[in-house]
Symmetry: C2
DNA sequence: CTCCAAAAAAATGAATGCAATTTTCCGCCG
DNA sequence: CGGCGGAAAATTGCATTCATTTTTTTGGAG
């Protein structure tokens, strides 16, 4: 017993119309105050306005955003499904607190997604997009040489983002953004300036990344990117929280 | 300006208590009627009770599940964030309809996640878990030899699930389940019996999978699993929808 | 003074109500 | 006969309300 589709799925809903250009990221729930609220609330949490483990006070947030509890609670359910908060039955929402295990796991997933992005990028990247990444790479190298940490980070993130963009895979992009958001809560960056040696290592890894991308060597790039993230995690997780018991560094 | 955490995050909320055994999958929103409804509604859609592109009638579903609109709408928002349905402002929810591009993209993400799972499994799998996978593999081979398609599928899925389990990464598991659910809507299986040659190919790939896992060769397994999914996609996407224009099979 | 228990207060989960937008239906005009 | 315009009906989005559970406070016993 199948409820039949509304006979007219609207003119622009047909798949044929989208063949030429992939439709822009019309996030299903981007508009309409619910989506607005969702974005704002997510940012609010990611930016650290609520301490990890803290309750998410509905009443207060309602007042802050000037809305009633209904849309707020809808947003909370979504954020819980994204893993940003957790819902305790009858006890409200809490900002998810990442223990060592979870942090490590999230880094690995990021690594896996980047590895996938690299693999796909090797198949689909355009010369123009590659040139742009190459340019960013050289710019980043310049920052590295003159010890411009801020510029380095900016280029670094831009490169990784471009690779994900080049993969041209919307579900991947969404998932990547989700996990990146979860990790953004723990400030794992800003450690490099205390880890000068890791900086050089990272720079060398980026040379490998660019090289593999130039060769369109998907599997190589995939492997390098995953290990790159592993090393980043190792550098970051050290101070944020105790490393998991079995973190022997077999990588590279 | 940081709202400070409620001074007592409760006895069992501390992370220290969870070090010994990772806490069981207490899905944040598993209980409490909202979670119940979420699961039921997701199954309801995944099982195909609503045609792709069809409106999701709030009123009717409320009656069917015997609840009011509020929890239903919360569940809809979550399902939208999972990508199962899409929310049109002021026009309700529709079952997401996968065009060719999206289907291909989803397969690739599944491939990427399985690749990651394989890589991690090589690091973390226990001898017992490996033995179990080996057993399933041989059982699957038996099914293959006697042309037991149903048994073959069961073993196949069990093996892939075990690999994901062996990766021992909760976020990965969750994400994997999410994408698997989205793909389950399109019945891409049940094609093998029309594709006997692909069946043999898949069986050979599984030999490679087991071999790489035995050698704990993470990168190899990663690559094999991704290509395995690529081939599966090629076999599946052929009939479900037109393949994307640039599907030259460079794989293998 | 500390600890425990019961009541008050607050917060959560879900239902209902209401304004606004959309969809449908019907009569009208071309 | 087909297309168009407008009103009625239905649906959506959000606010409000109510019952239940949790948390805090208060009173008292040990």
């Amino acid at each position: 017993m199948v409820l039949d589709p509304v006979s007219e799925p609207d003119a622009d809903a047909g798949s044929a119309a989208n063949d030429g250009a992939r439709l822009p990221p019309i996030q299903s729930l981007a508009r309409s105050l619910h989506g607005e609220l969702l974005t704002r609330l997510r940012d609010y949490i990611v930016e650290g306005n609520l301490a990890p483990g803290a309750r998410v006070p509905e009443r207060i947030l309602c007042e802050r955003f000037g809305i009633s509890r209904t849309p707020l609670r809808e947003a909370l359910k979504v954020l819980a499904s994204e893993g940003l908060i957790e819902l305790l039955p009858n006890r409200g929402a809490r900002v998810r607190q990442l223990d060592g295990h979870e942090l490590v796991d999230l880094f690995d997933v990021m690594g896996g997604l980047e590895a996938l992005a690299g693999r796909l990028a090797c198949e689909k990247i355009t010369p123009a997009a590659f040139a742009e990444i190459e340019r960013l790479h050289h710019e980043m190298y310049g920052c590295y040489m003159r010890r411009d940490l801020h510029g380095y980070f900016a280029c670094n993130q831009a490169i990784h983002d471009r690779i994900v963009q080049a993969a041209d895979n919307e579900p991947l992009r969404t998932s990547y953004a989700n996990f990146a958001g979860r990790l953004r809560r723990v400030r794992y960056s800003a450690n490099l300036d205390e880890n000068r040696d890791r900086w050089g290592e990272a720079m060398r890894e980026h040379e490998e990344i660019l090289d593999a991308l130039r060769r369109r060597a998907g599997n190589d790039l995939s492997d390098i990117l995953f290990r790159h993230l592993r090393n980043k995690r190792r550098a970051a997780a050290g101070r944020e929280t105790a490393p998991p018991p079995d973190t022997e560094d077999t990588a590279s």
